[in-house]
C-alpha cells in the first residue's frame, strides 16, 4: 500500500505546521467578468478568518475555489499543506463545507440527513453528538421541510461538522436569517472557535465579521482591499469614532431676521425626507436633551421635512480632531479621534455658520466605516 504510506507522510508533513490555508495569486474570470483578481491569503490554524465584502465582491468564488468546487484560472491553493489537484480525496475527508444555497430534501428528517453525511467520512463525530451541538435535538425526527431558516442553517452546519473537519468553510452562514436566529448561529460558531477549529467564513454583515472573526479580509471587485484584525482595520482609518449629522435651515428660520447670517457656506440645498432613525447609541441618547433644547423652540424637526443644507467640506475638515468627511444622502459623516473634544467644536462651528442640527448621532467606528472609507460606497448599497 504505497499510496497510503505516501498519504500518511504528506499528512504528517502538513501537521508539522503548514498554514490551514494558503492562496497565492488567485484569479478567476466568468465570461467577461473578473470575479477574483489576484488574491493572496494565509489562514493560520485555530483562526476564525472572515472574507467580507458586498455581494459580487468575489467572496463566494474565492471560497469555492478553496473548497475545490471551482477551478481557478491562475494561482495556487493549499489547504492543510495539500492541493486539490493531487490530494482531493484526502482533502474532502478533512474539511467541512457549508454552502450558501444548498437545500436538503424536504422529506428527509434531520437525523437521516446527518446520518447520511456521517457515512461519507472515515472518522467523524457521532450523529447524536453533532445533533446536540447544533441544538437540533428537538427537531431530530422532524422533516427538513418543516424547519425554520435558522434550523436549516444549523442542519447545514451539522453536516459540515460531522466529519470532524480540521478546516471549516461557511459561506454566508446567516444570510436571510432573522436577528435571533443569527445570534443563535453566532453562538454555535463561538463554540466551534472555543473548540479550536479553523474556520473560514464569508459574510456581507460587518457586525458578524467583527463579532466572530479573529482576522478579516475586506474584498471588493475581486481584490483584497484590507486585511487585519477588526481592531487594526478600524484603527487604520484614523478616527475611532464616527459623528453623523444633518443640518437644516427651517423655513420659518429663513424668514426671521437672524436668517441673514445663514448665507455664506451654502452651496446647494436639497430637500430630503427626514430618516428619523432612532439611534440606540447610548451616547447619542445622552445628547438628546441638547437637541430638544436647540430644536424645541422651532416646532418639532423630527416629524417634518427639513431643507438640508450642504456645507463646504473644507470648513468641517478644518475642525481640529476631524480626520475625514463625507456626505451620504445629505448626512455628513466625520471620523474623529476624540469625541469629547471634537463634538463641542463641531457644534460651535455649525452655530457659527448659523445652521442648526436636524440629526445628530455618534457611534464607534465599525468595519462598515472602514469599507466606506476605502471604497466611498456603503456595503449594503450593493
Amino acid at each position: 500500500m504505497d499510496s497510503v504510506s505516501n498519504l500518511e507522510s504528506v499528512t504528517s508533513a502538513a501537521r508539522a505546521g503548514a498554514p490551514s490555508l494558503r492562496i497565492r495569486g488567485l484569479k478567476k474570470a466568468f465570461a467577461d467578468v473578473l470575479a477574483v483578481d489576484g488574491v493572496d491569503l494565509e489562514v493560520e490554524r485555530g483562526e476564525c478568518f472572515g472574507l467580507l465584502g458586498p455581494n459580487g465582491a468575489g467572496k463566494t468564488t474565492t471560497i469555492e475555489i478553496c473548497e475545490g468546487l471551482t477551478e481557478p484560472d491562475e494561482g495556487v491553493v493549499e489547504l492543510l499543506g495539500l492541493r486539490w489537484q493531487t490530494d482531493a480525496k484526502e482533502l474532502r475527508q478533512r474539511i467541512g463545507i457549508q454552502l450558501q444555497e444548498s437545500q436538503f430534501p424536504d422529506k428527509l428528517t434531520v437525523e437521516e440527513a446527518v446520518r447520511l453525511f456521517r457515512s461519507f467520512y472515515r472518522h467523524g463525530i457521532a450523529v447524536d453528538e453533532i445533533i446536540r451541538t447544533a441544538q437540533l435535538e428537538e427537531k431530530r425526527k422532524a422533516r427538513v421541510g418543516g424547519l425554520s431558516g435558522g434550523q436549516k442553517q444549523r442542519l447545514a452546519m451539522a453536516t459540515a461538522l460531522v466529519g470532524d473537519p480540521e478546516l471549516l468553510f461557511l459561506d454566508e452562514p446567516t444570510t436571510g436569517l432573522d436577528p435571533q436566529a443569527r445570534r443563535h448561529l453566532w453562538d454555535l460558531v463561538d463554540e466551534l472557535k472555543r473548540a479550536g477549529r479553523t474556520i473560514i467564513l464569508t459574510t456581507h454583515y460587518m457586525d458578524e465579521a467583527e463579532r466572530l472573526c479573529d482576522r478579516v479580509a475586506i474584498m471588493d471587485h475581486g481584490r483584497v482591499i484590507a486585511l487585519g484584525t477588526p481592531q487594526e482595520l478600524i484603527a487604520s482609518i484614523g478616527g475611532e469614532e464616527i459623528v453623523e449629522f444633518a443640518v437644516g435651515a427651517a423655513k420659518d428660520l429663513r424668514l426671521s431676521a437672524t436668517a441673514e447670517d445663514v448665507c455664506p457656506p451654502i452651496l446647494s440645498t436639497e430637500k430630503s425626507r427626514q430618516d428619523g432613525a432612532p439611534s440606540e447609541d447610548s451616547f447619542s441618547s445622552a445628547l438628546a436633551p441638547e437637541r430638544t433644547r436647540k430644536d424645541g423652540a422651532r416646532s418639532g424637526l423630527g416629524d417634518s421635512e427639513t431643507t438640508r443644507v450642504a456645507i463646504d467640506p473644507a470648513v468641517l475638515k478644518g475642525i481640529p480632531g476631524v480626520q475625514s468627511h463625507r456626505v451620504d444622502a445629505g448626512v455628513h459623516q466625520l471620523s474623529v479621534s476624540e469625541l469629547h473634544t471634537a463634538v463641542p467644536r463641531i457644534f460651535a462651528a455649525l452655530e457659527e455658520l448659523g445652521l442648526h442640527l436636524s440629526e445628530f448621532r455618534t457611534h464607534s467606528a465599525t468595519l462598515e466605516d472602514v469599507f466606506v472609507r476605502l471604497t466611498g460606497r456603503n456595503l449594503r448599497d450593493e
Partner: protein
Amino acid sequence: MNKLELSSLYQLTMVRFKLVLREPEAIFWIFVFPILLAVGLGIAFRNRPADVLPVGATTTQLAQALAADHGLKAMQVDEAQGAHALAVGDILLLAVARPDGVEYRYDDTNPDARNARLLADRAVQIAAGRHDAVAAQNELVHEVGSRYIDFVVPGLLGMNLMGSAMWGLGFAIVDGRQKKLLKRMVASPMPKWQYLAAFLLSRLVLLVIEVVVFLGFARLVFGVPFRGPLWQLGVVCVLTSLVFSALGLLVASRARTMEGVSGLMNLVMLPMWILSGVFFSASRFPNVVQPFVKALPLTAAIDAMRGNMLQGIALPHLAAQVAILLAWFFVPFVVSLRIFRWR
C-alpha cells in the same frame, strides 16, 4: 452504528428509497396506476361471444334467408334506406335482390363486413338449396395465453418499468441540481458513482414491490399465465429497470430545469410507447423500420417478457433481447457518469 449504517452506498440508497415512499403521488403512479390500467383494459377486451353482424336486405324473402344464420341479424329496408344505414354504420352489408340474383354492397377493407359477406352469401345459397360437399363440425377453444389481456400485461409491465425509472430519476436529479444539493454532495467525500448507483439500487428495491404487486394482480384476477421460469422473468425485469434508470440518468445528466428534463424524457419515451408493442404487436410496422423498432430497449424488454410469460421461452433463447438491454444499460450509464453536471 453498525457497519451497514456506516456504508455510504447503503445510506444513499436508503435515503432515496425513503424519499420515494414519502411521495404520495409516486406511490400512485408506480403501484396503483398500472393496476387501474390493467383492470380497464381487461374489461374492455374481455372475451365475449362472437359478435352478431347487422345486415340489411331489400326483400322479405332475402331478409328471412339471412336471418336464418345465427351470425347475422337481418332487417328489411328499401334500397335508399339501406344505402343510408350502410353509410352511417348501422349495417355492415346490404343485400339487394336483382332479377338475375343478389348484389352485396359492403366495404371490403372492414374485416367485419367481409365476414358478413361470407355469412350472408352462405345463408342465401343454403336458402336456395345448396348442400355442403363435406360434413364439417366446430369445436370452440378459448386458450389462456392467447387473449388480449395476456398480450397486454407484459406490455404494461415494460411500460411501467420504463416510466417509473425515468420519471423517478429524472425529476429527483434535476430537483437536486436546482436546490444545489448535488453541489453539496460533491463537496463532501462521497464517491460520485455511489450517488448515481444509489438511484439504480433504490429502483431495484421498489421494482420488487412494483412487479410483484402488478403481476400478482394480473395472475389472480385475469389468470395471466407464467410459462417460463419466474426467476428468469425476474432477471428480465431487473435488467429492464436498470436500462431505464441509466437512460433516466443520461436524460437528467445536464438538464437544469424541470421543463427541460420533462421535454427530453418525453422525447425519449414517446417513440417507445408507440413503436415498442405495448398495446399491439410491433410487427405491424413496415419491414423497413423493424430493425430500428427491435433495437429499442422497450421492444427488447417487452419481447423478452412476452417470450417468458406467454411462450415459456428460456433465457438463453432470448439472448438477442438481453444483449440489446445490456447495451442500453452500459452505454447510457457510462456516458452519464462522464457528462454529469454536478452544479
